[in-house]
Amino acid sequence: MNPLVIGIGHYLAVSGAVFGIGIAIALSKRNAIAVLMGIELMLNAVNLAFLTFSRFGSAFGSEPTAPLAGHVFVVFVLTVAAAEAAAALAMAVLVYRRRETVDLDRINLMRW
């Protein structure tokens, strides 16, 4: 691939890199809020992949493919991400109020 002609592969590589960073953060951080940041980065990477395929694939044509369906999906992903962030942070505050910590290694009430 020519590094001076930006194509779909470059965007997908960036999307995969950000998604990988998000996975690494979400799996290896101990603080619940840091884990949430990793999940938000993963959702962002998915949005980038959606927009990339929309731009280079079906793109903005009127016929016959649905125009901008990828953009509408991204709007819904943004909505779900906002709802998820609000609910998860409320849970973090609630857990903190009960147990004085948001350390995931120490939230082991349901450990068998």
């Binding site: 950000v18 901008l68 779900v80 910590t101």
Partner: protein, 170 residues
């Protein structure tokens, strides 16, 4: 997409996004992590602009860099006696390996497979002007039901968040 501005912008913005993401992982202070994640959101919004996604880029800045980052700062500030450093758990090596593996796989597939490649002149031939009008008509046309369901989801999350953190009176 080969004009020099697009190429430079793409590399600068992807470097900003990936670098900020790495710093979220590496920084030792949780508040610094929040700052770097906001920086990554802004870099991602710039990448959306290079993909001609004007409406989504503005929404990204409003929702992620505005609302969600404020929620993150609130959550950090409302847990004052929790640890402020950003430690890794025992799963850190496995997590890093999985992340590296996924990034490598995605980059490999993206670079190797032949994808459809519409160029800027194709977009001009389709008389592309902007995305807002088309997104709006789709949200209220084809995708009207998911749109309403999304509003119900937001309401449920809103009420749920309030109910969760409400102090019990009595």
């Amino acid at each position: 997409m080969s004009s020099i501005g697009i190429v430079l912008g793409f590399y600068a913005l992807s470097g900003l996004t990936i670098g900020a993401g790495l710093l979220v992982f590496l920084s030792r202070n949780l508040l610094h992590s929040v700052i770097f994640v906001i920086l990554a959101f802004i870099g991602m919004a710039g990448l959306f602009v290079t993909l001609s996604a004007d409406f989504i880029a503005v929404s990204q800045i409003l929702i992620y860099a505005g609302a969600i980052s404020v929620l993150l700062v609130f959550a950090v500030m409302l847990t004052p006696y929790a640890s402020r450093d950003n430690p890794n758990s025992l799963f850190a090596p496995a997590g890093i390996l999985i992340g590296l593996g996924f990034a490598g796989l995605m980059g490999f597939v993206g670079m190797r497979v032949i994808w459809p490649q519409l160029t800027g002149s194709d977009l001009e031939a389709q008389s592309f002007t902007g995305t807002v009008r088309s997104i709006g008509s789709m949200l209220l046309g084809t995708y009207a039901l998911p749109f309403e369901l999304a509003s119900v989801l937001l309401l449920a999350a809103f009420i749920g968040a309030i109910a969760l953190v409400r102090e019990d009176e009595a």
